[in-house]
Subunit: 348 residues, 2 copies
Amino acid sequence: MITVKEIAKMCDVSPSTVSNILNGKNNMTAETKEKVLACIEATGYRPNYFAQGMRRQNNKTICIIAEEICQFSTPQIVESIMMYCEKNGYRTIFINLGMYNKWDNKGIKVGSLDLIEENTKPAFLEAQAIRADGVIYVAAHGRALDIVPENYDIPVIFAYGFSKDNKYKSIVIDDEESSKVLVEYLISMGHKKIGVVTGTKENYHTIERLKGFKSALKEHDIKYDPKNVINGDWKRESGYSAAEELLKKDITAIWCMNDVMALGVYDYLIENNIKIGEDISVIGFDDREIASFAYPKLTTSAIMLDDIGILSAKMIIKEIEDPSYRKERVATTRVPCKFIERNSVKKI
Amino acid sequence: MITVKEIAKMCDVSPSTVSNILNGKNNMTAETKEKVLACIEATGYRPNYFAQGMRRQNNKTICIIAEEICQFSTPQIVESIMMYCEKNGYRTIFINLGMYNKWDNKGIKVGSLDLIEENTKPAFLEAQAIRADGVIYVAAHGRALDIVPENYDIPVIFAYGFSKDNKYKSIVIDDEESSKVLVEYLISMGHKKIGVVTGTKENYHTIERLKGFKSALKEHDIKYDPKNVINGDWKRESGYSAAEELLKKDITAIWCMNDVMALGVYDYLIENNIKIGEDISVIGFDDREIASFAYPKLTTSAIMLDDIGILSAKMIIKEIEDPSYRKERVATTRVPCKFIERNSVKKI
DNA sequence: GCTATCTCTTTAACCGTTATCATCTCCGAC
DNA sequence: GTCGGAGATGATAACGGTTAAAGAGATAGC
């Protein structure tokens, strides 16, 4: 692999001259500059990233650690982080933990969410090894995270997840407010008896979304009935079985805490010839691709993934460049979701 | 940031001893080893990646260049590449081109597939700058790619796309064979008059899948009628309008070259009260999430994304470690898709 | 007691780039 | 004619690790 020294020798100049030309210093003759650049073009020379990184101590790199690249929310958040960082002079390094899709020795996927610390620690240390200026942790499974190693001296931001005890700045969606908007929409459509299918118990999103539900009911003087709230687990089947149970009760609408479960509810309703958006209204959360492809199209709340990505990139760059901001303890930032009205709710 | 020298001083040994311990040389007393490791643990020391990479010239890094991380196929391919590389002692660096989702200056997305070379060249040069041992290019838009810079001295493999003139080894899905399997299934279910909605014209996948279609018909002595083949563009709307047109003809089944268009066909059929999987059969390609969530569930062909990822990782490592393999010109590797029978096709 | 052997540790060179400082040339001012 | 200063280029050291080779210390054999 060709080096500055070789370029310098070929052009009869010193290595420093070559370096200066490449780094935009402008105290050399146009002639020299041209000669060197031509030689670089011809040889396809590129400065060695490692040598550069070692010499200039700031290497302008942000490390993105993603819990789960195969989670629907992750790619878009990651893409917008990368876009924003690049536009602002930072390179990004991406580490995927693939926490849920673990692989066994034979390369076969095995689901598991355990061993969080064991999985994340090496990634944080890796970020340290590459002397990243900052780390953005892109979560995928709403829970309080306490995973940053002790005495970690690089700025860290949590995107789409949050740090336990608010130790690090976090950006999450505004689960409570967005849920409230959804439920208020149902109420405005005349629904007062609303069934709920929750996410996994104790999950952050579940708790917050339920808060929003209760607060919407309260503001409209509707009594909260815990019997109409069924525990789900975010998966399709749990929507199906929750629907079965809810339909025994006196309700006119079902709100599922994600779109996948809402389509599980669809499964049950279709199977039992109950007309969705007519006999019963259904509403979801997330606005995944499946929501707009379902029939009838599912009314839901869209997570603003680009906003989350861009905001977290902005924040990490600010932490890097403004040490006083880094010390500031800021409350979790909540990004509102966008209500998407489609055809799964009927006015009654 | 703490360095070997500091660790060495703290432990009263020389830097090389620390280095030797970290690199698994075993010619030191257990006592020394323990002392040093304890100190490293306590201080959270990590060797500087740049210094390491510079000194040992092989840095065991594979660069993944993805055309489009937000394309449904990409994350899973990337994850399996990363998994396989990691298991085999290679680090991965990820670059997303986000070719379709371009961003303007204000950070707003603007679709565009132009300027391929302009977009890809910097990524290949970046791979060179980090002295990657190999590059895997993960494509997303079926087309012949001629994007590797001249005199590129790093091994390159194309995953889910292919290199023009077979210059580099490529791994693609077996469009033709998989399509043939789908169409033969339709035929086995009694369908002889099959409408087709293609992808964009001149797209590689479109051409290959049509070949498979024709070959299935031929083997069963069914005449190919180009009037039953409507040009689509992979998008939902084109499925919708193609359905409108196809239903004017005398057909019993519609094959769409991807699931998205198949659900566009669903849109039209539902709107017109035509029973899918009863009055008319529909079949897709890709097996995206939407396929199994549609009603009735869409019969389709699943792309084996993990297989593609693992295979490309295997191949790049082989090219890196076996120079003679690198010189070998190998025909494009075709990974078969997996037929998934669901409920959108009726036996007639 | 001296050398040979073995084990463990240190020394010093090196990777490729760039910041810093030094040098050299040229030109105009006094 | 000398001096100062600006502009262009060059020499050197340093970044933080790894590694080959040399060194030191302990033990064993004669």
